[in-house]
């Protein structure tokens, strides 16, 4: 029996949107009830009296968004913990082997070079240096080691 009194929420649980999960209040418990979306079925008819089809779709969308956020947060947590991803605010020891690989492997990779130059020019001391010749050389440098050498000179 589905009524306004015991209804909590309902949403579709499959991509085809044929099956619905309904959460209902019981004696100090919440009960999950799965049913087919079939407007001829009395249970479905009862549900549609307390929750419209539009509302069902909206609840489904909200739930999927929440699930996505939860999944992303979990994945990020695992990635950071295992060293696949770094926390920008907390550089740990696992960061350094990756940094070394990033510098010494694939030294002429254009995308890497671009990202490295951009990051270096975000350093105020480099960006605002009056040594225009070195800044020009940094822009024109063709590999990561050359870029870093010039950057270190500008910083010292």
């Amino acid at each position: 029996m589905i009524s306004k009194e015991n209804y909590i929420i309902a949403y579709f649980i499959d991509n085809a949107r044929k099956n619905i999960e309904i959460l209902l209040k019981g004696d100090k418990k919440v009960y999950s009830h799965i049913m087919e979306y079939d407007t001829k079925h009395p249970d479905c008819q009862e549900l549609l009296k307390v929750c419209t089809l539009d509302q069902l779709h909206e609840n489904t969308h909200t739930r999927l968004q929440e699930q996505k956020r939860e999944f992303e947060a979990t994945a990020m947590g695992i990635a950071k913990k295992s060293g696949i991803l770094f926390d920008e605010k907390k550089v740990g020891t696992k960061f350094y082997p990756v940094l070394v690989k990033a510098i010494f492997n694939d030294v002429e990779n254009e995308d890497h070079l671009f990202a490295l130059k951009l990051a270096l020019f975000e350093v105020e001391k480099i960006r605002n240096s009056k040594d225009n010749e070195s800044k020009k050389k940094l822009r024109q440098a063709k590999n990561k080691i050359e870029v870093l050498k010039i950057a270190f000179d500008l910083m010292s």
Partner: protein, 293 residues
């Protein structure tokens, strides 16, 4: 001040940018136009466009520039930032680096509505520090920013040589403009159409391929037919300035710069400086805020 132009060599925004640059330098505000050529055009196209029209060619840099963090960036239309964002995969890495460095500083931007969805994405992409808006509220009633008009700086124009070759001038620089002028062109047999050598042009008509030297001197009358939103028309203002005839051959109910500029006086030196002083005052206030002297 770095005035960034990512538009095409035929665009009004390139001209407004260069004219701003000339005025700002003339009053002691060191400025330059930084042009990142549209991937379909060359540096030479831009140089020709400027040299054809103005008495000077100075303070223009192409592609490579590394601004300090306290340098201000000016764009004469938001589209200069959005186009750069949309074209990001077609630029060289060095062009993209210049754009990142210029647009991550404080930016003064003239309000426009070309890409309302993409503009915020562009700002996010370039990590723009802060945008200070200027807006022509007569053209954009729902725009944001301090009132500011785009005005032609006729002081820097080359003298126009009278060399009439056609009676009527039509602008057909894109397919939409071209289709529109084709509806009326048979009534103007002595016409010249400024356009590009594209597949949508009609070879039976008198097509003149841009850029065209001394364009203002070659026609008697400008027939204004632009069917879509025109924020800051230049050609009919130029014709008015020269005392030439203009036929306003478009729907007068279109709410854009067409009617607004039609009703404005021909810009004088005073009108120009009164308007640009709004920008100069804004620059001063920003410098004051960030203690830049």
């Amino acid at each position: 001040m770095n005035i960034v132009c990512t538009g095409k060599p035929g665009d009004g925004l390139l001209r407004y940018s260069y004219e701003h640059c000339c005025y700002l330098n003339s009053v002691g505000i060191k400025s330059q136009v930084v042009i990142i050529p549209n991937p379909k055009h060359t540096k030479e196209d831009y140089i020709k466009a400027i040299k054809d029209q103005y008495t000077t060619y100075e303070n223009i840099v192409f592609n490579h520039y590394t601004p300090a963090t306290d340098e201000l960036t000016l764009v004469l239309g938001r589209s200069m930032i959005t186009l750069a964002y949309l074209d990001k995969h077609n630029y060289t890495k060095d062009q993209l680096l210049t754009l990142h460095l210029l647009f991550s500083n404080n930016v003064i931007a003239l309000y426009s509505e070309n890409h309302p969805k993409e503009y915020p994405l562009a700002l996010k992409y370039f990590k723009t520090k802060k945008v200070y808006d200027l807006c022509d509220h007569e053209v954009y009633p729902n725009g944001v920013g301090t009132q500011y008009e785009k005005i032609i700086n006729f002081e820097v124009y080359k003298p126009v040589k009278d060399d009439i070759q056609f009676r009527y001038l039509f602008l057909g620089t894109n397919e939409i403009y071209y289709k529109e002028l084709e509806k009326v062109i048979d009534k103007y047999p002595d016409h010249g159409i400024i356009t590009y050598n594209e597949k949508w042009i009609n070879p039976k008509l008198n097509n003149l391929f841009a850029p065209i030297s001394n364009i203002l001197g070659k026609f008697e009358t400008y027939v204004y037919t632009k069917p879509n939103f025109d924020p800051a028309p230049r050609l009919f203002v130029e014709f008015k300035w020269l005392g030439k005839k203009i036929e306003y051959l478009r729907d007068k109910n279109i709410k854009d710069g067409g009617m607004v500029y039609w009703n404005r006086p021909v810009p004088t030196k005073q009108i120009y400086s009164a308007n640009i002083n709004i920008l100069i005052e804004l620059k001063r206030a920003i410098n004051e805020k960030y203690k830049i002297f």
